[in-house]
């Protein structure tokens, strides 16, 4: 590959994200003689970054990733000019015009929403995008450009998994169900916003005041009372529902006496910095027994209840994480589910993605190789590369030709999206929050129904407009003004910040099975239909590897896209090699 040094030095490059991939990428770009680099990252440096984000040191913890990365790179490559900002790429100032000022955009992002946002802006600005992702030893680099090849959203991405509320509340059968119960339901109920509705507000709980701290009640007494209700009488109540246990093992209630909570409650080290430490439980990899869990539960609850509400769950908040582990394990004891160590529970509750330095380094090299081709006008030579954990056909790094644009892609090909829901129950608020923002990553949606605007987003709205749209949020789709959004209605959705416009067709479906579709809606279109079949196949072929990741609720760190194409090609490759051997 012939490199034109002047061209490299001149090229204007935007590297989005200065984390795991970003640190390696900024280094590799600077070493290659790129002198015109812009980077941004919203995050600050955390201790758990230091095993791979090699531009950061212990003394940088708490500081801006983008700014420290810039400073560190300049020390070994003083000629590079790096414009570094602590910022969210979704901010309005990073608009189409901003993206147009770059020759190529390189993504080292950790969440699907931001990646989609950048993809849409690159399409609008017609700037080539190099996308990347890593998890553990696996990684990928893909190249996208408007019209010449598929965009990042031409293939379906796995959606975050959600769980039916009755499974979480009454019939859990996996550790993840207990962790989600602890974090999403009980933690929020006890320490979150008092005014938020909770699925734990069942009649008998309210009547008994099970979650309300009585006046003058000590933290530990309150905690013991919550324990007796949540892990004892609530379970006893469920046991009376015979239908529930016809095909399931019955849960076992716990008692305060059974777990050693009767009598005076003492901590061996009351001044310790968190609940478990107060009981001398120092090994984060050890699995606590039931009575240890009960002690941690009481101590953590007593500590958290003294804080000013609302407390938001944070996996790095020791008391919060220890509370979640204890609750999850006590529920596991109720339901005969294996208990987890604090370390493992934290991985689940925090959606922590496994990460090593080497994969990020490899991926950064691959990104720069594609970027070099792009700035030398060799788009035709760019390709996808997958980094595999176990070599397939001897290959750790598997190059693949780029995909063509998917004519059914709603993002780059204007294809229509179909929303299936019960229009008599599904509200406009659900449409905005769960569908447009939650599932389709639309950042600032506007929605037109016929000739009337039913939703707008922006700082420039009048107060009465905001009120009007908020009032509409509570209405069901079929009760919206103008005759109601019903079966067959087509809505026009627009996001000015992403330069993204598409049509959303609504299909009404009356009956919903909460077990199969806990969200109460389905997004599809011919594109999605087609890829669903392949996606299932992909999950099967990925089997063991993808299993853990399936349980991830939200993408938190460097993420993996279990790419449909990748699994398919791997599979092809395996078949091909079998043939060869035969």
């Amino acid at each position: 590959m012939e490199i034109d040094r002047a061209r490299v030095a001149r090229a204007r490059v935007l590297a989005v994200g200065a984390g795991g991939i970003g640190c390696e990428l900024l280094k590799t770009l600077a070493l290659h003689g790129f002198e015109n680099i812009t980077t941004m990252d919203l995050d600050t440096i955390d201790v758990s970054n230091l095993n791979r984000q090699f531009l950061f040191r212990k003394r940088h913890v708490g500081m801006s990733k983008a700014e420290v990365a810039r400073e560190s790179v300049m020390k070994f490559q003083p000629r590079a000019t790096i414009d570094a900002t602590r910022a969210n790429v979704k901010e309005a100032r990073f608009d189409k015009e901003y993206f147009k000022s770059f020759d190529v955009v390189l993504n080292g992002l950790d969440n699907l929403e931001a990646r989609r946002h950048v993809n849409r802006l690159c399409l609008a600005a017609e700037v080539p995008l190099v996308e990347s992702g890593t998890t553990g030893y696996k990684g990928q680099v893909t190249v996208h450009e408007r019209r010449t090849c598929a965009c990042f959203e031409c293939t379906e991405k796995p959606t975050p998994k959600s769980y039916p509320i009755c499974t979480l509340r009454d019939t859990p059968d996996k550790p993840i169900h207990c962790v989600v119960y602890a974090k999403e339901l009980l933690f929020s109920k006890l320490f979150g916003d008092v005014n938020t509705e909770s699925d734990l507000d069942e009649q008998e709980a309210i009547e008994a005041g099970a979650f309300r701290r009585n006046e003058g009640e000590t933290g530990t007494d309150f905690a013991k009372r919550v324990f007796a209700y949540v892990f004892g009488s609530k379970i006893e109540g469920l046991l009376l529902k015979d239908d529930m246990w016809k095909s399931r093992a019955k849960p076992t209630p716990l008692t305060t006496s059974g777990v050693g909570l009767d009598g005076a409650f003492t901590e061996t080290l009351p001044d310790a910095k968190s609940a478990r430490r107060a009981h001398g439980l120092l090994d984060t990899h050890a699995v606590w027994n039931t009575s240890e869990c009960a002690k941690v539960f009481v101590s953590a609850t007593a500590r958290l209840i003294e804080r000013e509400r609302p407390v938001t769950f944070d996996k790095d908040d020791d008391d919060a994480m220890e509370f979640v582990t204890a609750v999850s394990n006590l529920r596991s004891a109720n339901y005969g589910i294996p208990a987890q160590s604090l370390f493992d529970a934290k991985g689940m509750a925090g959606n922590i993605v496994h990460a090593v330095a080497t994969t990020n380094a490899i991926v950064s090299g691959l990104i720069v190789i594609e970027a070099l081709k792009i700035i030398h006008n060799q788009m035709d030579k760019t390709r996808y590369t997958f980094v595999l954990e176990h070599p397939s056909n001897g290959r750790f790094l598997q190059p693949l030709s780029k995909e063509d644009p998917n004519p059914k892609c709603s993002v780059c090909s204007n294809a229509r999206v179909e929303l299936v829901c019960n229009t008599n129950k599904f509200t406009k608020g659900d449409l905005i929050k769960k569908v447009l923002k939650g599932r389709l990553s639309v950042h600032a949606p506007s929605v037109m129904f016929g000739s009337s605007q039913i939703h707008e987003t922006g700082d420039d709205l009048d107060e009465d407009e905001v009120e009007h749209y908020e009032a509409l949020d509570k209405r069901t789709l079929s009760a919206l003004p103008g005759g109601g959004v019903v079966n067959g209605t087509i809505l026009a959705v627009d996001d000015f910040s992403q330069e993204f416009t598409f049509e959303l067709m609504v299909t009404h479906r009356e009956e919903w099975d909460e077990e199969n579709d806990p969200d109460g809606f389905i997004i599809r279109g011919e594109d999605v239909k087609a890829s669903e079949a392949v996606a299932e196949e992909a999950t099967e072929t990925e089997a063991a590897g993808a299993k853990d990741d399936d349980e991830v609720l939200l993408m938190d760190d460097e993420i993996e896209i279990t790419d449909v194409k990748r699994a398919r090609e791997d599979d092809d490759d395996a078949k091909a090699s079998k043939k060869q051997r035969a």
């Binding site: 040094r5 095993n51 493992d344 990460a355 994969t359 090299g365 750790f396």
Partner: protein
């Protein structure tokens, strides 16, 4: 989430527990667990402990490459590609939390060893500017060697291990001139930028001292490395219920790339397989016939004749079986290409860690990455 991996680790741990206990406390400190959290989720606690007890040497030289580079802008990213590969590999294994890492600069040129001369001039990103820091410590920056400046950067990346700098120049010998005792101080030796003959000598010394050997090489548009972990390298692979012990067989580089080795490679080459491994045999043979001088683009005529000669001698189906581009990819680089260093340094780092922890199936016995194909593949040269 990763409980299965941890259980696998525990089962496997009994192999190494005895040594582990000697060198290091059985538990990681809370500080170590915080820093290494994300990777413990990848390879488990036991592997992290073993990595923490491992002793690695990363040694580099670029005398075989064009080191006469002080000409400013045009050659600012110079041909000292092996320094970039060494820097990437050293960074990766240091971040992983190795117990001890020695970084060794084997270039005798005293002038080249003062770090400031090459800051920002090659792919060696461990060589950072610290003139003010050194002056504040009462040291003259020009007296600070390249290796010790790199070691300083590495030690900032790993607060728990011991990072040491070494200079072949100061020791008055090159790595391949050290004795077996020297090598017995390490579990793994990574040698970057040596000639084939030198690397083979280092490989032999590693065999004698029972340490793992990796030799990394740079070409015009390719990077590759050899591994020799002995005749029967025992490891454990898999996770959860499917944990299994395995044994990998390696050979010395000198045997794998010997003048008469590789007959099968020539005759049984798969259609779609890369020609680069065969091209390497041609380049290796060239150096054997030219007093171990590194082949450059100027040697094309001789290489062209040689590729045909070898194809004929080994009975290949065509005398054109090794294409020109594959050979040229392996010749001495005119310019560095840091992106390739990052790729090969990543895979090499992983293989070093597999050797150090005996966890995960190791690659036998060479890995190649080339720009033209974009493939990164393992090739077994074992005779």
């Amino acid at each position: 989430m990763d409980a299965s991996v941890d259980r696998g680790g525990d089962r496997w741990a009994s192999h190494s527990r005895a040594r582990d206990a000697r060198t290091r406390a059985m538990t990681l400190t809370e500080a170590e667990q915080e820093v290494y959290d994300r990777q413990i989720r990848v390879w488990g606690l036991e592997t992290q402990r073993t990595i923490g007890a491992s002793r690695i040497l990363v040694s580099f030289t670029c005398t075989e490459e064009d080191d006469d580079d002080d000409r400013g802008e045009k050659n600012a990213s110079s041909t000292r590609a092996s320094r970039g590969v060494a820097a990437e590999t050293a960074k990766n294994v240091t971040l992983a939390g190795v117990g001890a890492l020695t970084i060794r600069n084997d270039d005798r040129d005293d002038d080249a060893s003062a770090y400031a001369r090459t800051v920002g001039r090659d792919g060696n990103f461990l060589n950072v500017e610290r003139a003010d820091e050194y002056r504040a410590m009462g040291r003259e920056p020009k007296d600070v060697t390249l290796a010790s400046n790199m070691a300083q950067t590495l030690s900032e990346m790993n607060a728990f291990g011991k990072i040491t700098a070494e200079d072949g120049g100061a020791r008055g010998k090159k790595l391949y001139e050290e004795d077996a005792d020297y090598f017995s101080k390490f579990d793994v030796v990574v040698a970057c930028g040596y000639t084939f003959a030198e690397a083979e000598a280092i490989n032999d010394l590693c065999r004698t001292s029972n340490c793992g050997f990796f030799g990394a090489f740079t070409g015009a548009s390719a990077r590759y490395f050899f591994a020799d972990l002995g005749d029967a390298f025992e490891y454990v692979a898999g996770s959860g219920e499917s944990v299994a012990a395995g044994v990998a067989r390696y050979s010395r580089m000198s045997e794998a790339l010997g003048a008469r080795a590789g007959a099968n490679d020539w005759t049984k080459l798969k259609k779609r397989a890369s020609k680069i491994p065969l091209a390497l045999r041609v380049v290796r043979e060239f150096e054997r016939r030219h007093s171990n001088r590194r082949a450059t683009a100027n040697d094309w005529d001789a290489l062209d004749a040689l590729r045909r000669e070898l194809a004929g001698a080994f009975g290949a189906s065509s005398e054109d079986i090794v294409d020109e581009a594959s050979i040229r990819a392996l010749l001495r680089p005119e310019n560095d290409f840091p992106a390739m260093n990052a790729v090969v340094g990543g895979i090499l780092g992983q293989e070093v860690l597999k050797r150090a922890s005996r966890r995960g199936a190791p690659s036998v016995n060479a890995f190649f990455f080339d720009l033209a194909s974009g493939q990164g593949f393992v090739h077994d040269f074992t005779p």
